[in-house]
Symmetry: C2
Subunit: 308 residues, 2 copies
Amino acid sequence: MTAPVYERVALIGLGLIASSMFWAMKRRGLAGEVTGFARSRATRETARRIGLCDRVCESARDAVEGADLVVLCVPVGAMGAVAREIAPHLKSGTTVSDVGSVKRSVISAVAPHLPGGVHFVPAHPLAGTEHSGPESGFAELYDNRWCIIVPADDATDPEAVARLRDLWEGMGANVDQMDADHHDLVLAVTSHAPHLIAYTMVGVADDLRRVTDSEVIKYSAAGFRDFTRIAASDPTMWRDVFLTNKDATLEVLGRFTEELFALQRAIRTGDGDHLFDYFTRTRTIRRGIIEAGQDTDAPDFGRGAPKS
Amino acid sequence: MTAPVYERVALIGLGLIASSMFWAMKRRGLAGEVTGFARSRATRETARRIGLCDRVCESARDAVEGADLVVLCVPVGAMGAVAREIAPHLKSGTTVSDVGSVKRSVISAVAPHLPGGVHFVPAHPLAGTEHSGPESGFAELYDNRWCIIVPADDATDPEAVARLRDLWEGMGANVDQMDADHHDLVLAVTSHAPHLIAYTMVGVADDLRRVTDSEVIKYSAAGFRDFTRIAASDPTMWRDVFLTNKDATLEVLGRFTEELFALQRAIRTGDGDHLFDYFTRTRTIRRGIIEAGQDTDAPDFGRGAPKS
């Protein structure tokens, strides 16, 4: 056990991400004391019951008092209000970070509230499951996943950035750094647009299900099943993602629609060569992902057959 | 070990599906002898090397000689030609089946070639992985998955249907029966349209990847990663699926595009309530799938973190 990276860490919002951070910090002794706050009383009670956080506070103000690191783990749309609330209670030299899936809008919403002497180092761990809430967290969530650190501006203190990087690496993540706009574009294509598409397809199936009496659910083999997992993610979080990463998401969806129309036309006109070439090309991407170590090559994701 | 369901089974085409059938039949002694044929010499050699089939033949004709059950395990677009080739060599009373993902077009392509006295009982096991080829098969592939039997017409011998059902149940599957057009519509929404959508999104990312220097691959968290798995499936198989289930696929894609446009508009206009309500609704479908036993509730599909 090495010395803690931060003596006092405050987690604001106690869902899957914060909960997993807590367990990952405890696993390696990365924080002296971890305080937590959640707006919902039920969440605070659950956190106390399962031992999530060393101390669960009754206000965000109490939680951030004396903290060396404050991590905002609330939906992107709520970041600004939380920042305004806690700002007067931050000690000088504190680092404020967050875990939001969109970075430009979080920076715009949070930065204006923070006093001088507070380091703002936004971050985004690319990890999650389709479950949410304090009980869904686990210490291994970030192991070998990426966390992207997005310093609010060029003037950000390099030492504050390096220390946050130490924390994330200690929690098992690989850390990269990029600017906010680039982050938002990359995430629009790897995550935000795919989520919206999955949501849409599941919604279409739901309409059809009413016609075909639950067969859609019963016969959901690979394709649709993977979509439903994506589409089961937290509705509040995703609403905020789309509203705050609007431009990049709409740009990627525009390209998507264009390509989809071309493939639909190939189907309609019976252009088998076009389809075959397209499908062959997409295989190489999958190979790239396996080589990049972001997934397993085991068939069907390494799942066994479901229990009957 | 009970008595075999069929004394002699012939598998035409030796990819993932046929290979898994062989190992599943062997697991329970469901077939006396299993012969196999694949058009490619390399595939036949691989099959012999790994002990796939009791006897690998040099022609489809040799493989079907004396068989009680012939299963066509070739791409949907190749079914008609294979049926024409083997038809003169089928013994009276034989059952011919297939494993194609589309049923109406297979029936149209195969049925005209089969002589009287041969029972044609098409089927479609809803199982697979993103891998293909003879070495990708395994005995458990069909455990607790659905196999849909689609008798070619109302005159199909009920005993031939019941026997094929026994085989699939013996291989671990749950068996249902429906007519060809209904099958094709249900599969368009649960499988065919989702696959085309995943292929499209992966193609769009590929375009962007050229701009952003492999970041798309590096940062592919949940959403996109699931799409790439789907989009890594066999190109020939999927080309044939879309060309042969054209009408149902295009109908579902039409609905999909309509819904996607509505969600894009909600993003553009900042209509958060619309997005939230939509995303909440899709969660219930996911719940239905878990309750129907077609997937696990374990986070992230029960996958652990990938090995570093």
